[in-house]
Each structure stands twice: as structure tokens, then as C-alpha cells.
Amino acid sequence: MAMQRGFLSIVLHAHLPFVRHPEYDNFFEETWLFEAVTECYIPLIRSLEQLHQDGVNYRLTLSLSPPLITMLSSELLQSRYIAHLNKQIELAEKEIIRTAGNPEYQRLARLYRRLYLDTLDIFSHQYNCNLLTAFKKFNALGHLELITCAATHGFLPLLNKNEAAVRNQINTGIETFISHFGFAPEGFWLPECGYYPSLEKHLKNAGINYFFVDTHGIENASESPRNGVYAPLNCGNEVMAFARDPESSRQVWSSTEGYPGDYDYREYYSDIGFELELDYIAPYILDGHTRINTGIKYHRITGQNLPKEIYQPKQALYKAQLHAQDFINKRQLQIDRLSTDMNRPLIIVTPYDAELFGHWWYEGPQWLECVLRLADNNTNAIQTISCADYLKQNVTHQVATPSASTWGDQGYSSFWINESNNWIYPLLHKAAADLEKLVLALQSSKVNPLQERALNQAVRSLLLAQASDWPFIMKTGTTVEYAKKRITDHLARFNYLLDSIKTNTINERSLSALEVLDDVFPEIDFRSFH
């Protein structure tokens, strides 16, 4: 059998900030999770199930962030998701009636109703409301490699003023993953692909074998990469860094060249939440008067400055298949072109945000399913692989240190530190330093159970304040007030807890309230913050 010349490693990174508000009956930002479950995670599971049933041999990597893992396993959010989905079904049924005079629209309304009912079945009955069960299943079947990332998706290059903060993000993330899946991840998704030299030592200490950086992280490494971005670099401590392939990334991500902009695909911005009479849509939008996306969209992208035409699902599916074939063809050409210069089988690593597939690009899950199906077709020389498997087949790699980099705008840290959000860093750094100092002071002291709870809760508060989502939102300008409030609340809770510990005035009622509000990382141990 001829040696495989090239591999394709598709990596999906699934992450949402920890949004869970037991203090309210319903909370708008929780719909971020609900939309992602309906539009991304369940369609992905549906595709994986179909591939499994059809006997397709594939390897896919899924990074699940600890906040997402925690939310998917939260009983509160599971029950709220079912309530949300039932409202969606109700709205789709109303839409079937409303569109009775327009068969094209009504056909789509019926399609949405069927999809929501099927989603409910998958969520409630097939996986007992916990989608982690589905991912465990596909992992056990050998198709899905599961990895994780930092505890609250902290942007590590800007937290490393305090190394204990970085270690805590990494270790707590991995511990959360292990507690839910029962095994340790081999790979680690650096939030926003944010890497800086020396980060690999923390990954090594946490038992991680590989991570990902953006293209220029490898291209600008301490030594010229002999195999370009198509083989990993050994960071010097046997932790390997894989680079994002720019070519395949551009085909999916690019707003101009990318597949998702095809005119036949569904238009994200055309939603009945913004288009129908307020009286009619009021029960399905925010507080009955603020228009939001409902998920029911009837139009295709159509073209710039043209009246939006009705969405044609079959035509869109056909385009997804064409684009999948194009993607595979281009990977084949890439392998043909590059493999002659390589001293080992090349690996094309194509990481994407999981939420792109289904949410922003409605047909994304179908495209992905089709890509995996085509890659398994014997008529091409492409084989999907996980990075862990690639490292088992190819053990030794060039030693060099990647360059500091991210996959964000401009390729570095400027999206997470700029005039919109720079105020958070002195506060985050000070909190981490204060915590480290306190933990050090308590190292040889015995703490009582209440103090232990308060100290652990302080670590949770700090972790939640450190999420990269808050500076990201402040920069994008979307739900800025919410992001500011979250950081302020978490740091206030942190300050309160530290103050009450230092002054020995812990109020159990207040502490319990914070444990209910920020119910994450139940097994955290403050002593590990050093």
C-alpha cells in the first residue's frame, strides 16, 4: 500500500461564554446557547449520525470549551432550552397558518417546524437533554477527537502578566474536560489561537501534546519551517504546534471569496423577528418589544443591492455539495503540489469556529458532512486525520519556537486590547496578583470549610472575569453593556470574597448566592492557583 501523501485535519472549535442567569426567569443572552444548539450543535450531531449510519470513515476534531461543556450539562439551561424550542415550534406553526396564501413561504415554514420537532427529538429523547452524550458517543466510535481549551476562554497572551493565571486557565479547562468525558485531551485549543513563546511549558505540564497557531505563528517561527505550515513544529519540549492552512481557511472564512457568501445560501440578516408586525411577533422577541432574530428566515442571499428572493433549500443543498467537491478538489491539488517538497506526509489543518456552521452559514453542516463523505471516497487521495493520530504516525518533527500570534484581526492581540477594552487589564492583573498572594499566604494554614468555599468561589469569579469574550464584545460593539457588567460583577464578587476572607467576615448566605449565580468548575481547588 502506497504511503499516504497528505492528510486533511478539520478542527471545529465550539465555544460560547458562560451565560447562565438563574436570577431571572429568562435572559436574552442565554439564547446565544439556544441558537447554537438548534443551528450548530444538533445539525452537526445529525450529520455525524448520518455519516455513521452510512459507514463513512472519517476523523474530525471538535474542541469543546469548558464554559460550553458546563452549559450543555446544566439542568437549568437544558430545561430552558426545551422551553425555547417549544416556542420555536409554536412560532413555526403560526407561520404555517400565516403563510397559507403563499405556498413557497409555507413550504419553508413547514420545513422549520419539522426541523424544530426533529431537534427536540434529538435533544430530549436521543441524548436525554445532554449533548455531551452525543459527542462522547462519536468519540467512542473513533470518528471524533475531542479536545478542549482554557477554562473560560481567557486570552492567554494578555493574562500572562501573572503566570499562575495562565496555568489556572489551562489546568482548570483540562480538569473540567476530564470530569465530563473521563479522559484527558491530547490537544488544546488556545483561545483565539493566542500563543506566545513559553506557553508550551504550561501545556506540557498539563499533559498536552499539541495545539494550534495561526499560519504566521509557524511561518515566523524561530527557525524557518522546513515543511512550511504543512507539518507541526516541536516547540522543544515535545509539544507540537500545528498551523492553520491559509488556503482552505480563506475558502470558508473569506467574506468575499468564501463559500458562505454564495447567493443561493440562506440570508442570515433576513429574519421574521425584524420583518413582521410587532403585535404578531411580540411573544417571540425580547420583552415583547425589542426585535431579535427568531431563526425563521425565508430568503436567500440573492446578491448585492437586489430584492431578496425566496430561499430554495434544494438549490442551497446542491451548492453545498458543489462547494464540498470544490474544497476536496483544491485540497487534492494542494497535496499534489506540496507533497513533492515534503520530507513526510503533509497535513492540512483547517480550523473553524463551530458556530460558523449552521448559525452564520446555515448550510455549513451539510457542506461539512459532504466534505467528510467525499474525503472517504476512494477516487481521491485525501484522508481525514486528527492531529493526535498524525503525531502517532509521524513522531519526530523540526524543533523551533512558533512566533507570538493569534487568529484574530491583524494576527496579533490588538482586537483584545485597544481603546474599547484596555481598562480591564490592570483590574484583571491586579486580581490575579492578589489571589496568588493570598493563596501563597495560606499555603501552610488550615482553612475552615466556609473559608475554603469562599476561596474556591473567588477563583471562579476571577476565571469568569478573564473570559476573552468580554473584550471581544467591547471591540465589536454588540452587547457592550452586558460585557462590561459581567466583568464588573465578577471582579466585584472577587473583591468581596477576598475582603471577607481576609477580614474573616464570610457571610454564608451571600457566598451561597454567588455559588448559585456562578455555578462553574465545582471541583476547583484554590490551592492550585500558584
Binding site: P22, E23, Y24, D25, P157, L158, K161, Y196, P197, E219, N220, A221, S222, E223, S224, S403, A404, S405, Q410, G411, Y412, S413, S414, I417, N418, N422, W423, Y425, P426, L427, H429, K430, A431, R453, T488, D489, L491, A492, R493, N495, Y496, D499, E508, R509, S510, L511, S512, A513, L514, E515, V516, L517, D519, P522
Partner: protein
């Protein structure tokens, strides 16, 4: 009404209103503020040519409220990714004792540190707070010329022991009057700048101390000792006025024939710089290097 309980004490029940009230009370009373206990200066790399600085100077560390506060940023070739013969520094005037600022730095793949201090009436510089050293990343792939030279440690030590660097200036006593000062020694450059301000013409010979090199750092040793067969660095800086339109004058200690120096001159959009041997301002010639 929904009641909640902590997983750590199921006996204690809290209503949604309780949760809201406690959360609000804590945020009201403990929201983070910018009251810092100690002076600090923190640098963070943003991209290959940008860093972000935030600082806080406690009022009681300032000797004279009327003095100009300056952030002095240094490159540190001994800690940079690749050996360099360039030593760079520039001053940024600060308008407040607490703040944040984005700083454009002259070159990528370099280590930088900074000091905030006061320029006293006698033009001496009193450091108030220093930063840690940070590294900005490369912005281009590594090239052959970037390769780290390998030299054997024995010859490096020999060279280091015999090397003498001549600095053309006298050094008044450096004033550090802040009890909160870190133990970090004020870099040699500060002393040079002080001299430059004072315009003292005396020349002295400074025996370079081996201790400025980190242990076993042959690259750093090589960088300093490799001048043996080359032109010695200028003892006064080239001053690139309003460097690259960044609003600061960049001081460059380098050999005028050094290719790295040529590269940095090429970034000088205005083309104006002051050479260390002439008091006049020079305009870059058509070759773009402005060498004379």
C-alpha cells in the same frame, strides 16, 4: 416562586430576588476601581511594532509635582530574539500619574522595557517605576542572516574579559529617591541620556561588567564582543527626530555602517536625524540611508 440552593449547602435556600439583591449589593460595594496600592508600570506586547503600557504612580513617590513625567522605553538587545548591535531608546511625555497608552516601537522581534521617571530641574532623571521586559514578535519569516551565531564559550569569555567600551561622557550621580523602586539597576542608557542632557564633554572609559550578561548567554556575549573586528558603536546616539511620525525622537546607538542601522533609518519617513558627531540636522540622501 423558584428557590435556589448552593450545591455546597443545600439547606440554605435563596429566591431569585435574593440572588438579585445580593449580586447588586456586592457590585455596588465592591466594584473594581483604579485605586492601586503601589506604583507599577506594565508593558504588554500587542503586535510586532506595538506595545501597550499602563501605569500608576503613587503621589507620595513624586518629588516635585511640577516636573515632567516621562516614560523612557528601551530596547534590550541582550534579551532580544536575535543578536543585534542596535540599542534604542525614546521618551514619551506622560500627562498623568495613572493611565494607559499604546506605544509604537521601532523594530519587531525585540525585547523592550521601560522606566517612568521625572526630569529634574538639573535635567537629571529620577526613575519612579520600572517595567518588566517584554518581547514583541517577529513580523516576517526568519532569514539566514537572522540565524543565531554559534560561538564557543571559551573564546567568548576571553573576548569578554578583554573588551573595553569607551563611553564619551561623564555620569552624574543617578538620583533614585523612591523607596518603592524595584531593585533593577538603571540601564546604562539612562546614564548616557543624563550626560547628553547635561552636555558634559568629558570622556571616560567604562570597564564593561561581565555581570550584565545572563549566565551562559553566549549570544548576548557574542553580540557585545563581536565588535572586536568591526567599527565600535557610536558613543553618542543618532537621534531620529519624530521617528516614523510617532511623536518621539528615537535615540539609536549603532555603527553608522551597520545594516540594522540602515534599516531603521529607512523607516524614518521625514528623513531627518541628528548624527552623534555633528550638531547639524541631516537629511537622508537619495539612497535612503542618509549616511555620510
Amino acid at each position: 416562586m423558584t428557590f435556589w440552593q448552593s450545591r455546597y449547602n443545600p439547606q440554605l435556600k435563596l429566591s431569585q430576588q435574593d440572588l438579585l439583591d445580593i449580586s447588586e449589593e456586592i457590585t455596588q460595594a465592591y466594584a473594581p476601581n483604579d485605586s492601586y496600592m503601589q506604583s507599577e508600570l506594565v508593558l504588554m506586547p500587542v503586535d510586532p511594532v506595538t506595545l501597550h503600557a499602563y501605569w500608576n504612580i503613587k503621589n507620595n513617590t513624586i518629588s516635585n509635582l511640577g516636573t515632567q513625567l516621562i516614560m523612557r522605553v528601551y530596547s534590550d538587545p541582550t534579551l532580544s530574539e536575535y543578536p543585534s548591535s542596535l540599542n534604542l531608546s525614546f521618551d514619551i511625555k506622560l500627562s498623568s500619574f495613572q493611565g494607559q497608552q499604546t506605544v509604537s516601537v521601532p523594530i519587531a522581534a525585540t525585547a523592550y522595557s521601560a522606566v517612568i521617571g521625572e526630569v529634574n530641574a538639573d535635567n537629571s532623571f529620577s526613575a519612579l517605576v520600572t517595567s518588566d521586559t517584554i518581547h514583541v514578535p517577529r513580523e516576517t519569516p526568519v532569514t539566514i542572516s537572522d540565524a543565531v551565531p554559534v560561538i564557543d564559550s571559551e573564546s567568548a569569555n576571553t573576548e569578554a574579559d578583554n573588551t573595553q567600551v569607551i563611553w564619551q561622557e561623564a555620569m552624574p550621580e543617578h538620583s533614585i529617591n523612591n523607596s518603592e523602586q524595584p531593585t533593577q539597576e538603571i540601564p546604562m542608557f539612562d546614564r548616557l541620556f543624563v550626560a547628553e542632557i547635561n552636555n558634559v564633554p568629558d570622556a571616560i572609559h567604562v570597564q564593561r561588567e561581565n555581570s550584565i550578561f545572563p549566565p551562559n548567554n553566549n549570544n548576548a556575549r557574542h553580540q557585545f564582543t563581536s565588535t572586536k573586528n568591526a567599527t565600535a558603536p557610536e558613543t553618542e546616539p543618532f537621534i531620529l527626530k519624530n521617528f516614523n511620525n510617532q511623536g518621539y525622537d528615537l535615540k539609536v546607538y549603532a555603527n553608522s555602517s551597520d545594516s540594522e542601522f540602515a534599516n531603521i533609518l529607512a523607516k524614518q519617513e521625514s528623513g531627518f536625524y541628528i548624527s552623534p558627531k555633528k550638531s547639524n540636522i541631516t537629511k537622508l540622501n537619495s539612497s535612503g540611508l542618509g549616511l555620510y
